[in-house]
């Protein structure tokens, strides 16, 4: 009797576990049909799902995105061929992130497909597309996707409004809209850099200096830090009346 009761009890216990799990678990992640994996990253995505390591592999995709965006689009030979013009400086990927980067949207979106809670990656992608590359439609597409899984994320809404002002060519409104986002730990340094630049552009030097000082103090990215230090030195050299504005 005992020999028959044991497997029955085992099945019952197992079914109870599955039933409670089935009722209580709701996935916050995009379904497989939404994951558009680049061919070279299929194995990584398999590991991300198979071992329950979405965050880790989203980190890897984000590092790849930064490497992609940080790589000059022209070949070294092409750069060498460019005739240097005195006083003119060529940016293949300047501190403001100019460039074409055709895969930027798909790569940014893929980070969110793996981990939709990666707010910093979303803001980095949206900010780069909208404010560095001027691709506001793509930035909005990415934001809409990010909002689908984090509808209450206020930072996304602020940036969405800022994009609207950017299209209306109102830099003061853009700077005002993204100002609260800058204080958040999820704010990418690239967005801070843009905010500082906009504040400088509209003559709000005190706000620009405060943002540059924040970048210099908190960022680990040497390119941004050295640029912020340069800008702070420039702002400090401004006549006192202008700097107070």
């Amino acid at each position: 009797m005992m020999r028959l009761a044991l497997p029955a009890a085992a099945l019952l216990a197992w079914a109870a576990g599955s039933a409670v799990s089935d009722v209580s678990y709701t996935s916050h992640f995009p379904p497989p049909s939404e994951i558009h994996t680049p061919v070279s990253g299929a194995a990584g995505d398999m590991f991300a799902l198979a071992f329950g390591m979405r965050r880790l592999f989203a980190d890897v995709w984000f590092i790849r995105l930064m490497q992609y965006y940080g790589t000059p689009e022209l070949e070294p030979a092409e750069i060498m061929e460019m005739v240097p013009v005195p006083g003119e400086h060529h940016h293949h990927h300047g501190i403001n992130g100019e460039g074409r980067y055709p895969e930027f949207l798909s790569r940014s979106r893929h980070v969110l497909e793996i981990d939709p809670g990666f707010t910093l990656a979303a803001l980095y992608g949206v900010g780069s597309l909208a404010f560095n590359m001027g691709r506001t439609a793509e930035a909005q597409e990415l934001l809409v996707y990010a909002l689908k899984y984090s509808p209450r994320e206020w930072k996304y809404l602020k940036v969405l409004a800022a994009i609207g002002y950017s299209k209306a060519e109102d830099p003061a409104a853009v700077a005002a809209e993204i100002a609260p986002v800058l204080k958040d730990p999820d704010c990418p340094v690239m967005l801070k850099q843009q905010a500082a630049f906009l504040n400088k552009k509209i003559g709000n030097y005190a706000a620009a200096a405060a943002i540059y000082a924040d970048i210099a103090a908190t960022s680990h990215d040497t390119a941004y830090v050295s640029n912020a230090e340069r800008e702070l030195a420039k702002l400090a050299a401004l006549p006192a009346q202008r700097a107070r504005k």
Partner: protein, 254 residues
């Protein structure tokens, strides 16, 4: 009843002490420490996301290291005790098989808990050394890993009682672990399939434990807290594996 508990505790403590003395365990601790240190390199690549990368890499590595040890231990311990005839000595005394099995599983879980605690401390020290605070949901992430390990360890004990070798137990349990993280995707496929395929997928959803339920590591914000359902499901699945293993071990001649 008190006697059963005291016997179970004695077996669990013995299994735990044996694991701690095992050189294999030490090797894993050294490996984990070295690998977590290597993660600093990955952190440097992430620039301003170093804290997040270090936290994610460390938590993932801890779980995999503890999983490797727990699976190896669960797959081999009963086989080894049968080969060395230790099990005959145990069963020649008034030790019920239920207490023996519960003790072995508990000992294995205690080892996993200790491994996670040691590696977690090393990981937090490393983060502190790099100037970062304790990542959010850290304790929940470790608790989730332990629940996952509890489910897979008890399942591996069950498999080890009918499989022919340690390797086959490892392979079956490894597949089960992987499938456990795919339950949501399996359900998604089941909803979009029809006929026998849909029925098979729906059955798989019931047979395979949903390990994503414990994956606090990947959950964002407040969603990382493990609810009572996670603890209940883990307890039910461990009990299911234990009872199935007890059924098998009861029929064995020692």
């Amino acid at each position: 009843m008190k006697r059963i508990f005291s016997l179970t505790w004695a077996v669990a403590l013995n299994a735990f002490v044996e694991s701690v003395r095992n050189r294999f365990f030490t090797l894993f601790a050294v490996f984990a420490f070295t690998a977590i240190y290597a993660s600093v390199l990955a952190g440097v690549m992430a620039v301003d996301q170093e804290a997040r990368v270090l936290a994610d890499f460390g938590l993932a590595l801890m779980e995999l290291t503890a999983l490797a040890y727990a699976l190896f231990n669960a797959s081999s311990v009963l086989l080894k005790e049968a080969e060395t005839k230790t099990i005959y000595l145990v069963f020649s005394r008034p030790v019920p098989r239920a207490a023996y099995l519960a003790g072995k599983i508990s000992g294995s879980l205690l080892t996993s808990a200790l491994m996670l605690a040691v590696m977690g401390t090393m990981h937090l020290l490393l983060l502190r050394f790099r100037g970062f605070a304790v990542p959010p949901c850290y304790a929940w992430a470790l608790a989730g890993s332990l629940l996952k390990l509890a489910v897979i360890t008890s399942f591996a004990f069950f498999v080890s009682l009918f499989s022919t070798s340690v390797v086959s137990t490892l392979v079956i349990s490894g597949i089960f672990w992987t499938a456990g993280h795919f339950v949501v995707e399996t359900r998604f496929l089941a909803e979009r399939s029809a006929g026998a395929g849909a029925a098979a997928l729906k059955a798989a959803v019931w047979v395979i434990p949903n390990l994503q339920l414990f994956n606090a590591r990947d959950a964002a914000g407040a969603a990382c807290a493990l609810g009572p359902a996670a603890f209940f499901s883990a307890a039910a699945w461990v009990a299911g594996s234990y009872l199935a293993a007890l059924w098998l071990i009861s029929g064995k001649e020692f």
